[in-house]
């Protein structure tokens, strides 16, 4: 079997660097212009983010069509600081820059009722630069640099409002980010040292992928990326941060930034695939294939995929269940994001699990990432528009908005339907792919993965249910809040931004074949370990087939049942006990740690308070004694120490001593003389 993967042609190009610099410059420009000239500032923000998008589009032909890898090497940090664009990075960059552009356009109007608008725009653009950096990085080192920056810069977006909730969310977010960064750093350090590689792939001939250290490395990396990706149990920052941030920022967080985590997962899988190219890997591969066995690195990938699948399932279910019971729209969407990340992880996990046959899993995962970027950011923008109009985020206090805000309602519904996975909308395509991949994995996976299939079904139903809840409570029915008359449709730029995203949703849903051929398949072509035939098969995959559409019915049914049941018994208001949430334990740990520190220092001072007097008393005693000695000395105006040690020599001292014992004086005299004489004689006459 010949390796059909096109070896990427490396082309030096400044485009990646420009794509990165544009938002950066834009951010600076925004800072310079500042609050004084709002119009110019908004214009600059939009222009620069548009320019970044254009720049990404400009890379499209070279990367996707000609399959070359655009590379620019900067002489910063430790030298070889290389940005390099391959199809995988590019589709992420495209999605990111597009969503960013829309969000920026949207924010120009939306932010009018918020404080510190310049800061928002500037840091939004900075964050865009960092995010693009993550996607355009050529190796883990560069990726880490931008990943960290992105995480820290996003903090500014989350705490933007500086309300109590925002600060609380910010604290949790920042500690999780720091933790994630450190875990990632740890993994990357180990990777660089053991794989001896500067790129994402292990160095040819290194035993890294076949050794067990690769599990440690990928464990750390998953720990790091998982934080960003909102993977359970590292998701705790997400439900706090998304509602706290301004809506356009939430759209970015949910649409793009958490995808950076997923991107990391894909890169980890890519690293394993690189074993197929390496000399050692290839040898192993060929050697084993002759015997009809799976190569060793694939074996490791297989195990890793197994873990990712279950993490994904956990994420999916937890997110779904918690999303069901939310009243705050944005929090609901945040949990929904967690749940959707679970879908993505399942896809990626299956892609890894199936090894060479995993193309369909990866494709599903990547497709879903794209889709989620569109519909989730659109959803956030939509509820942002609602908030803009009503200043209300509690969906139980909304309703009947479709009359007042028809466009917003339409766009949000498109996004919601996409999220549900209804035919024609984009979620349908990706969920179909995911479902296919689960079915494919049944064969090697056995009964456990059959359970996955069922869980997938149920949670798809749950998804339909909570979206239905969201849409129906927010937009339909009758208005439960006040001042329905004051509610107006949002300004046109905001609508335009939403409209573009909605168009994206429809496009991805209507033309899955085009998307697959032009976006997903080139990406899959990167993975050297994939079976080219299965990739080819994907390119020709038909989505709108009978079985696929029929397969939509069970989840839909489950969703409707869910919705009816929950409405009937009012289960939407169900609140789980706090101790069941993972967050509870995080808080416990956090509080416990700080308490440990403070209690430790308190204990220390207690101990000191307890034993210090003793030491002090001893010290004071010694000091008093010393002082007494000094005083005594001074009073007698001659050395106390002298007196003790040199009585016989201190003339007057000895005299006084003898006078005090006058009657013994004579005896002393005799003894003194005789003793000394005997001593002298002995010495003399020896």
């Amino acid at each position: 079997m010949e390796n059909a993967v096109r070896s990427p042609e490396v082309v030096n190009s400044l485009l990646p660097a420009i794509a990165l610099l544009l938002p950066l410059l834009g951010g600076l420009a925004v800072l310079v212009v500042g609050d004084r000239r709002e119009g110019l500032r908004n214009l600059l923000a939009v222009v620069f983010s548009a320019a970044a998008f254009v720049c990404c589009v400009a890379m499209f032909p070279a990367v996707m069509i000609r399959g070359s890898s655009l590379t620019v090497t900067l002489n910063v940090l430790l030298g070889d600081f290389r940005l390099s664009v391959d199809p995988l990075g590019l589709i992420f960059a495209l999605a990111a820059s597009l969503v960013w552009l829309m969000s920026t356009i949207y924010a120009c109007n939306y932010m009018q009722h918020e404080q510190r608008r310049t800061r928002y725009h500037a840091f939004s653009l900075f964050t865009e630069a960092a995010t693009l950096g993550v996607f355009l990085a050529s190796d883990y080192f560069v990726l880490f640099v931008f990943f960290e920056l992105m995480g820290l810069l996003a903090y500014l977006l989350i705490v933007h409002n500086q309300t109590y909730e925002a600060r609380k969310a910010g604290v949790k977010y920042i500690y999780m980010t720091v933790y994630g960064g450190l875990s990632l750093l740890c993994g990357i350090l180990l990777f660089v040292s053991y794989a001896r590689s500067l790129g994402f792939g292990a160095q040819a001939g290194s035993a890294f992928l076949t050794s067990s250290i690769c599990f440690v490395v990928s464990g750390f990396m998953i720990g790091g990326f998982g934080v960003k990706a909102g993977m359970v149990p590292l998701h705790v920052w997400l439900p706090l941060a998304h509602p706290a941030a301004p809506s356009p920022a939430s759209a970015l967080l949910s649409g793009i930034i958490i995808k950076a985590g997923a991107y990391g997962f894909i890169r980890v899988i890519y690293t394993f695939h690189s074993g197929a190219e390496g000399v050692g890997g290839a040898l192993v591969k060929h050697g084993h294939e002759a015997a009809g066995q799976v190569p060793v690195y694939m074996h490791n990938l297989h195990d890793l995929g197994w873990v990712i699948i279950w993490l994904g399932i956990l994420t999916m279910v937890v997110g779904m269940v918690l999303a069901l019971v939310q009243d705050n729209v944005k929090r609901l969407l945040a949990y929904s994001s967690i749940s959707q990340m679970g879908y993505i992880l399942i896809g990626l996990g299956i892609g890894a699990y199936l090894g060479a046959e995993g193309a369909i899993g990866l494709a599903g995962g990547i497709y879903h990432i794209m889709n989620h970027a569109f519909f989730k950011s659109l959803l956030f923008l939509g509820v942002g528009a609602v908030y803009y109009a009503t200043h209300q985020l509690d969906m139980t206090k909304l309703g009947g908005l479709w009359r007042k805000m028809p466009y917003t309602t339409a766009f949000t519904c498109i996004a919601g339907l996409g999220l549900m996975g209804i035919t024609v909308f984009n979620g349908f395509a990706s969920k179909t792919l995911l479902h296919h991949s689960i079915l494919e994995s049944l064969e090697p996976g056995g009964p456990w993965l059959r359970a996955v299939d069922i869980i997938f079904l149920v949670s798809a139903g749950g998804t339909i249910c909570y979206i239905a809840k969201l849409l129906s409570l927010t937009f339909f029915g009758h208005h439960r809040g006040e001042n329905i008359h004051e509610i107006k449709e949002v300004p046109r730029p905001m609508l335009a931004a939403m409209g573009v995203l909605a168009a994206g949703v429809l496009f991805f849903g209507l033309f899955p074949g085009i998307v697959m051929r032009n976006l997903i398949v080139p990406v899959l072509g990167l993975f050297p370990g994939l079976d080219p035939e299965s990739v080819h098969h994907l390119a020709g995959l038909q989505f709108y087939t009978g079985p696929n559409i029929v397969a939509l019915l069970p989840p839909l049914a489950v969703g409707i049942v869910f919705f009816l049941v929950m409405t009937r018994w009012d289960l939407f208001r169900l609140r789980l006990p706090e101790a069941m949430g993972i967050d509870y334990y995080y808080s416990k740990t956090e509080v416990g740690f700080l308490r440990l520190c403070f209690r430790g220092s308190k204990r220390y001072s207690e101990l000191r308070a307890k034993y210090w007097p003793m030491a002090k008393t001893t010290g004071e005693y010694l000091y008093d004694w010393w002082q007494a000695l000094v005083k005594d000395y001074r009073r007698l105006s001659s050395a106390a120490l002298d007196r003790i040690v040199t009585i016989p020599m201190d003339i007057s001292g000895f005299a006084t001593y003898m006078r005090a014992r006058q009657f013994t004086g004579d005896i002393a005299y005799g003894v003194f003389v005789i003793a000394i004489v005997i001593a002298a004689l002995t010495l003399t006459l020896l």
């Binding site: 940090l77 705490v159 933790y179 450190l182 750093l185 520190c597």
Partner: protein
């Protein structure tokens, strides 16, 4: 072997700071402007003169200058190798920054402050330029003593106590180093730095070597504040005026570390230390220091005390990196000298501005201080992020190299120490930033009120360095290139 040239330049450079003294003494009262000009001029001239040695340092050329033979076989002599140059240029830059800063900060007893700061610069350079352990010790001791007036500058009761503690610690340490020095000379026969270890295990028995080593560590460990010996640091830093704190943390603690470096590379040599098996205990001690000092830092509410504990932890990074005995570890450890100097220097200078402008030392009272002192707090944040090891700041580079080093040394578990420490750094630095910028009632907006330009500029430059050293790492002339040369020669 490296090329050797004779040069009187080190001696001249060392003499330059002394020129500031007549100016400060004569004009201190009558023409303070002139005194300040002379003072800054001398520091700047020192810096410029040191930069002239740059080509040699980059070529690995060693400049030597024999000064005087104090006793037969014991010389005061200068030898500027790349390591010495690296240290010298670093400390002259830090000195220049704090010098400019102090013009605005120091308002009392300026003459004394200027004189002793200048003298200390000279002595620190002496340490950097020393050609043998004896010269190093001589200048080290002088530097230690002449730091005292700087610490007690404010002459408060607290400062006095801190100064006393400092004296007791350093003088004891000096005596201990002296003992080690004598032992080294007696057993090893030479004190010179030759670029490799001069003690060897063939002629000297292992216990003796161990004793010499541990006595050296005890001695230098006080300045480098290895954990049980760190007692003076948290007292001296808050008591001293802020530019002095910056110098203490930025340079003077590093002089202790520099001593350890010399002991490591030029007295024992890497191979011998590896054979002796002392690296691992030192690594544990350093790790202990890093973690425990960070934990202590968390509980401090006085800003400068927190920074001081942070310094205790950070200086041990140097020790950690060096005793990994691997090239990357050494690069990390040596880089940390410069990087921490800039970061902590900036932090202390910012703390100085905060204290100077608001009079607040307690972190809990600093709500919304970021809107009052935006530039200061921005610089503070940059430096603090650097301490946490955020990419694009110099702290990240250090951490990266140290991490690689620990794997290279087959001791990957020390990464955990590094990362835990970074986490703890976040725990004690982030609240400050958070309190300064995001806490506090936005309604009660304080008026923007930045401090004078002489104090602002060094802070900005320091923060800029934190970022520049984090981005343009490999530019020739910046620490990384120098350290690379040093390490290449060693391993």
């Amino acid at each position: 072997m490296s090329k050797i040239v004779h040069s009187v330049l080190p001696a001249i450079i060392m003499a330059v700071p002394w020129l500031a003294i007549p100016g400060a003494v004569l004009w201190g009262k009558k023409r303070p402007g002139a005194a300040k000009a002379v003072y800054v001029g001398c520091t700047a001239a020192t810096f410029l003169l040191i930069t002239t040695m740059y080509p040699r340092a980059m070529d690995g050329v060693v400049s030597v200058q024999h000064l005087v033979e104090v006793a037969p076989g014991i010389n005061l002599a200068f030898r500027v190798d790349t390591l010495g140059f690296y240290f010298a240029i670093l400390l002259s830059v830090i000195w220049l920054l704090t010098t400019v800063y102090s013009l605005g900060y120091i308002r009392t007893r300026e003459t004394r402050y200027y004189c002793f700061t200048a003298i200390n610069l000279s002595f620190c350079l002496g340490v950097a330029f020393s050609a043998n352990m004896f010269t190093l010790f001589v200048f080290y001791e002088l530097m230690s003593l002449f730091t005292y007036p700087l610490i007690i500058h404010e002459e408060t009761e607290i400062a006095r106590r801190a100064g006393l503690k400092y004296l007791v610690y350093t003088i004891t340490a000096g005596a201990v180093i002296l003992a080690a020095l004598i032992m080294q000379y007696y057993y090893g026969g030479t004190l010179s730095f030759l670029g490799h270890g001069t003690l060897n295990s063939e002629t000297i028995s292992k216990p003796v070597l161990l004793i010499i080593f541990s006595v050296y560590m005890l001695g230098f460990g006080v300045k480098a504040c290895i954990m049980p010996l760190h007692g003076w640091v948290p007292d001296a830093h808050p008591a001293a005026p802020s530019p002095t704190s910056a110098l203490l943390s930025g340079v003077i603690l590093k002089v202790g570390a520099f001593g350890i470096i010399r002991v490591l590379f030029d007295v024992f040599g890497i191979k011998l230390l590896g054979d002796l098996g002392v690296a691992l205990p030192m690594l544990w001690v350093a790790s202990f220091t890093i973690i425990v000092a960070s934990l202590f830092a968390i509980t401090q509410n006085d800003l400068k005390r927190r920074l001081a504990y942070s310094s205790v932890a950070q200086v041990s990074y140097i020790i950690l990196g060096l005793f990994l005995l691997s090239p990357d570890g050494a690069i990390g450890g040596l880089l940390q000298i410069a990087h921490h100097a800039f970061m902590k220097g900036t932090l202390f200078l910012c703390a100085g501005i905060i204290i100077h402008e608001t009079g607040k030392r307690d972190i809990r009272e600093m709500n919304g201080i970021g809107s009052k002192l935006p530039i200061t707090m921005l610089a503070f944040s940059v430096a603090a992020l650097g301490m946490m090891g955020t990419p694009l700041t110099c702290g990240f580079i250090t951490k990266w190299e140290l991490g690689l080093g620990s794997i290279q040394a087959h001791r990957p578990y020390f990464i955990a120490v590094l990362l835990l420490s970074a986490l703890l750094n976040a725990v004690y630095f982030l609240p400050i930033i958070y309190i300064a910028f995001f806490k506090g009632d936005p309604m009660d907006k304080l008026l923007k009120h930045e401090t004078s330009r002489t104090m602002m500029v060094p802070v900005i430059i320091g923060a800029a360095f934190v970022v520049i050293l984090g981005i343009f790492v490999t530019v020739p002339g910046l620490p990384y290139s120098l350290v690379k040369i040093v390490v290449k020669a060693l391993f």
